[in-house]
Every structure is written in structure tokens, then in C-alpha cells.
């Protein structure tokens, strides 16, 4: 029996990205197949405006999936929490 819940990611934006996008996060509908981090970032960038600017190729953006640092090829699945943020500057 197919899972009746919608197949979504929880996307989280932090620091400069949160301010630039004007939101701390959103639910993101997943395509039928498993998707990779880079296809999510491509889709967000395609929104244009602050999205195109902040996620432009060459801008340093870090991605964590379920609180673990991820690479462009990391697979994301329904229910995952995917966070996008700039390089860290703590300490």
C-alpha cells in the first residue's frame, strides 16, 4: 500500500540565506524518484531573484541532510531535513 503522506522534504535556511530568502524554511515536494542535493539546489536557484543570486554557481553554500554535512550527490528522501547555509563563522 503506498504511503498516503505527501513526499516532502523539510528545507531549512540559516543565517545570510534565511535573511536573503525572507524565510527560515519551507516544505519541498519531492519528485517520485529519489533526488540528490544538487537537483534541489538547481530547482531553488531557478526561482530567480535572491535565490539565483545566493545560490549562483561559485557562491559558497553548504548543505546538511539530517544534521550531517552533505555533498551535491547526497540523496535526499521524503521526511529528510535539508539545511542550506553559508560557510560557518563561529568560535
Amino acid at each position: 500500500m503506498p504511503d498516503p503522506r505527501p513526499a516532502t522534504l523539510k528545507v531549512v535556511y540559516l543565517a545570510r540565506l534565511r535573511e536573503a530568502f525572507g524565510t527560515a524554511g519551507e516544505d519541498w515536494p519531492l519528485p517520485d524518484t529519489d533526488a540528490a542535493v544538487d537537483s534541489l539546489v538547481d530547482a531553488l536557484r531557478a526561482r530567480g531573484g535572491a535565490w539565483a543570486l545566493e545560490l549562483a554557481p561559485g557562491r559558497a553554500v553548504r548543505v546538511a541532510v539530517n544534521h550531517v554535512m552533505a555533498s551535491p550527490s547526497t540523496i535526499v528522501r521524503a521526511g529528510d531535513e535539508v539545511a542550506l547555509f553559508p560557510p560557518v563563522t563561529g568560535g
Binding site: R16, A60, F85, P86, V88, T89, G90, G91
Partner: protein, 150 residues
């Protein structure tokens, strides 16, 4: 090996944090400590305040992983990391790392390792208030170089 990590907005008491790690343990011969504080100048601008943001859940996990990593690499007795978030003013303490061990070489190395890893891997972001307005602090390549040493 005791590891302890905390993320908090409240000021920490430096002497209390160190005494908590010592706790009368006479196996300890060396305690290396690092405290990072807010400077009133950064990248050629006056800084009147700092806002520190973190990623709840991942930040604590990241600090725990760094502390455990230090404990695997060196023969040490304890590691504690306390990092503040929220609004801070010049001279305020931001972060404190305490490492206890039998001998000083291991304590120094593990303490410096924790700071280098924290600077490049722990999800914290600083926003500075300057005369030209607020700005997000940019990451430094020198911090990546420092972390790559280990």
C-alpha cells in the same frame, strides 16, 4: 573520558567551568583552556555588537562529534565546549574549551584541534554591527588551513 558540550545565550563563569572539569581528579596534570572573546575591530571595521546564530540540534551534535574526535586522537581525560549564541558585546566571551589530561602536550594539542575544527565545522554564524550597518562575517581561508593541519 568526560565530554560535555553546551550552547547557551547566558554568560559562562570561566573559573566554574574549569573547576567542573577538574573535580578533584588527581589523574589530571594538565588543563589547557581557550576562551574566544568579541573584538571591537574586525576586517578593518569597528564592531559595536555581534549576533550569533546557530542551527539547533546540528550545532550540539557537531560539537559532540568534535569533542569525541579529540578524545580518540589524544590521550586526554576530558573535553568541555561551551559556546554562546545571541547578542554579544565587545570583550564578551563567545566560546570556551577546556581539555584535561595527564600531560601538557596532549592537552594543548587537543584544545587547539577543537578550536580549529569548531571554527570550520560547527554551525555558527556571526553578524556584526558596524558604523556602515550590519554585516554577516565571511569565513576565512586561514581557518580552513588551520583545520587541515590535523
Amino acid at each position: 573520558m568526560g565530554t560535555s558540550v553546551r550552547v547557551q545565550s547566558a554568560l559562562f563563569e570561566i573559573g566554574v567551568e574549569i573547576d567542573r572539569m577538574r573535580a578533584g581528579d588527581a589523574r589530571i596534570g594538565a588543563i589547557a583552556t581557550f576562551i574566544g572573546t568579541v573584538r571591537d575591530v574586525n576586517d578593518a571595521a569597528q564592531v559595536s555588537a555581534l549576533e550569533l546564530e546557530h542551527y539547533p540540534g546540528m550545532t550540539e551534535q557537531s560539537l559532540s562529534d568534535i569533542a569525541d574526535d579529540a578524545a580518540r586522537r589524544w590521550d586526554i581525560l576530558g573535553v568541555s565546549i561551551v559556546h554562546r549564541v545571541g547578542k554579544l558585546l565587545p570583550a564578551d566571551p563567545i566560546v570556551m574549551v577546556v581539555v584535561t589530561s595527564a600531560h601538557r602536550r596532549e592537552a594543548f594539542a587537543a584544545c587547539e584541534f577543537v578550536m580549529d575544527y569548531l571554527k570550520t565545522r560547527a554551525p555558527f554564524w556571526k553578524k556584526e554591527s558596524t558604523p556602515a550597518g550590519d554585516r554577516w562575517v565571511e569565513a576565512h581561508a586561514s581557518d580552513d588551513d588551520a583545520a587541515a593541519r590535523w
